[in-house]
Amino acid sequence: MEVIADGEALNRLRRVGGPDLIRKLIQLFLANLPLRVEVALAGLRGGNWAEVERAGHSLKSSAAYLGLREISERAAMLELLAANGGGSDVEPLLQDLSGAIPAFRDHLLQVVRAL
């Protein structure tokens, strides 16, 4: 998954709450992203679709706030699939999200450094 960031989303956050808001939301997201993916993977292994759905829902909106459309769209798909009982697309989707964590972390840390 490529790191594509919508710069306007960050500009909007900056206009609303300044660099401090961006910094705090990124910190929250970076703490949540691996945790939610891990929870979703555990949910997948245990057939707990409610947990997978919850993780997808959480990531969908928090990624959207930061303009991380690639994550947000995949998380929305994850939420939808889990809400409908899972399916074979869930695992590759989660692997995709999991594999992309380092690149997104690097990108967001770079954003924070540039604030």
């Binding site: 909007r12 206009r15 609303v16 939301l25 997201f29 959480s58």
Partner: protein, 140 residues
């Protein structure tokens, strides 16, 4: 100008938002997921005037809530302070068909509320809701 004038203007801003939302018709599933901040990795941010407006009309919660991470005004799955809730609560919907409209709408109404602070001489702060409420309770 005093607070009643500011609150009247704030209610006008909220009413304008309601009109826009009624045209967009986002769907609320009443899941209360948006009120369980910690569980879903969200935060609710608000302005100092909106927090004052809420607490001028509603009681402070009985206990701190930042640690639980759930809105202290969530009662039986519904908002217990609906008439006085903040912009972020009014504007947030899970509806995927509305997702792209949400952020620009938030920015537009937030700018009006920020301007309201200036015009009424109210100190402006943009604060994380649970921490700010706990601070009003005297919890560090």
């Amino acid at each position: 100008m005093g607070r009643p004038e500011a609150w009247s203007e704030l209610e006008g801003i909220y009413a304008d938002l309601e009109r826009e939302l009624s045209a967009l018709r986002p769907l609320c599933q009443r899941s209360s997921r948006c009120c369980r901040f910690k569980e879903y990795g969200h935060q609710l941010w608000t302005t100092s005037a909106e927090l004052d407006y809420l607490l001028d009309h509603e009681r402070l919660p009985a206990a701190p809530s930042a640690e639980s991470g759930t809105c202290p005004y969530l009662k039986d799955g519904l908002c217990g302070v609906r008439d006085h809730r903040m912009l972020g609560c009014r504007i947030y919907f899970c509806d995927p068909n509305y997702a792209s409209a949400m952020a620009p709408l938030y920015e537009k109404y937030h700018a009006r509320i920020k301007e309201l602070h200036r015009r009424h001489g109210l100190p402006y702060e943009y604060v994380e809701f649970l921490t700010a409420v706990d601070r009003r309770l005297g919890t560090p």
